[in-house]
């Protein structure tokens, strides 16, 4: 009896926590800044010995050449999924689809651009 009451409570706490959505700014600060840099221009702390320079997320020319779907795919499945470097990792185990969608919009704010503009 006691267990039966406890289980739903435990389940509720576990899953509310797991699903709590982070802001794209926090996700960027946590996971992307290490390579793409504090200002998003591709000069992260990791780039000294890196073979391919991370994308400058403020660069209108290259960022407007990508559809939202392509950006989503690159973030979720990694650079290799869009024929770019494997140094751009897949984030499917870290971010939810919804967080990745938010991230794509966040990148649009960083570059102040849309697809094709």
């Amino acid at each position: 009896m006691r267990n039966r009451l406890l289980l739903p409570v435990l389940l509720a706490t576990c899953c509310i926590q797991v699903q709590a959505k982070e802001t794209p700014a926090d996700n960027y600060k946590a996971y992307c800044v290490q390579c793409h840099g504090g200002d998003g221009k591709g000069g992260g702390v990791n780039i000294r010995d890196i073979a391919v320079v991370p994308r400058d997320h403020t660069d209108v020319k290259s960022m407007s050449g990508r559809s939202d779907e392509t950006l989503f795919k690159a973030i979720k499945e990694g650079g290799a999924s869009i024929d770019k470097s494997i140094l751009m990792p897949p984030w499917d185990a870290t971010l939810s689809d919804e967080e990745i969608k938010d991230m794509v919009q966040y990148l649009r704010v960083l570059c102040k651009c849309n697809f094709g503009s």
Partner: protein, 226 residues
């Protein structure tokens, strides 16, 4: 009866070393010794040291004993790395002036704290899933995979001055860590720490084995080169 013996043992170690309570009183100000791991980025950004609540699943005891007496930096950019970087000419650089030395313990304290840490094993379930074969791999082949094919070097130093800086150096990893832990962390960093800065790169079983064996060779060579 059991309880009495336990109390006597505790009392004994407390009197013999400063060990009794040190973990709870001093180390826990910076380290999570009870779990669970950070569930939100807010908590993750505020971490002042690596989680120790699964220390018994992670470290080699003899390494703990020696490192705690003579701690040396493992994460070149500290924790959280973003708090220890400054803008440089070619991009972000580590601001070494913001990194602190780790507290060093006496031999007796290091020995008793290490023994206490090794009893913290909430993740036997994860390490039990990993079987490490004795597969041989040359340092060159291993490095090629670590760097070019799998892209791990972006965040990890494979030599004191070569590699990425946001993760822990890996040229000492096999000296510090149990092989099953390395395999399990590479398989799924999020199983250990849902907010880990390390992505799951979805390595095959064969590649996981390769990486663990490479890190072993790498640590041995680093040790011999000294």
């Amino acid at each position: 009866m059991r309880k009495t013996i336990f109390a006597i043992l505790l009392g004994f170690s407390g009197a013999g070393f400063a060990g009794g309570g040190m973990l709870q009183n001093e180390c826990s100000t910076c380290h999570n010794i009870t779990g669970p791991a950070a569930q939100t980025l807010k908590e993750a950004f505020e971490k002042k040291g690596p989680d120790l609540f699964y220390a018994g699943n992670k470290y080699r005891q003899e390494w703990l004993v020696s490192w705690l007496q003579k701690p040396q930096r493992i994460r070149p950019a500290g924790m959280y790395y973003g708090n220890h970087i400054k803008a440089g000419a070619k991009g972000d650089e580590v601001d070494v002036s913001t990194l602190n030395e780790h507290v060093a313990l006496s031999k007796a304290d290091a020995t008793s704290v290490a023994a206490e840490l090794m009893r913290l094993k909430p993740h036997d379930d994860l390490t039990a899933k990993e079987k490490i074969g004795a597969g041989a791999i040359s340092k060159q082949m291993g490095e090629m995979a670590f760097n070019k094919f799998l892209g791990c070097m972006a965040c990890h130093l494979i030599e004191p001055e070569y590699g990425g800086l946001s993760g822990p150096e890996v040229y000492t990893a096999a000296k510090r860590l149990q092989p099953e832990y390395m395999a399990s962390y590479i398989r799924s960093p999020q199983a250990w720490d849902p907010k880990s800065w390390m992505p799951n790169k979805h390595l095959s079983d064969i590649n996981i084995q390769k990486m663990v064996n490479y890190l072993k060779v790498l640590s041995e060579e680093t040790e011999n080169a000294k």
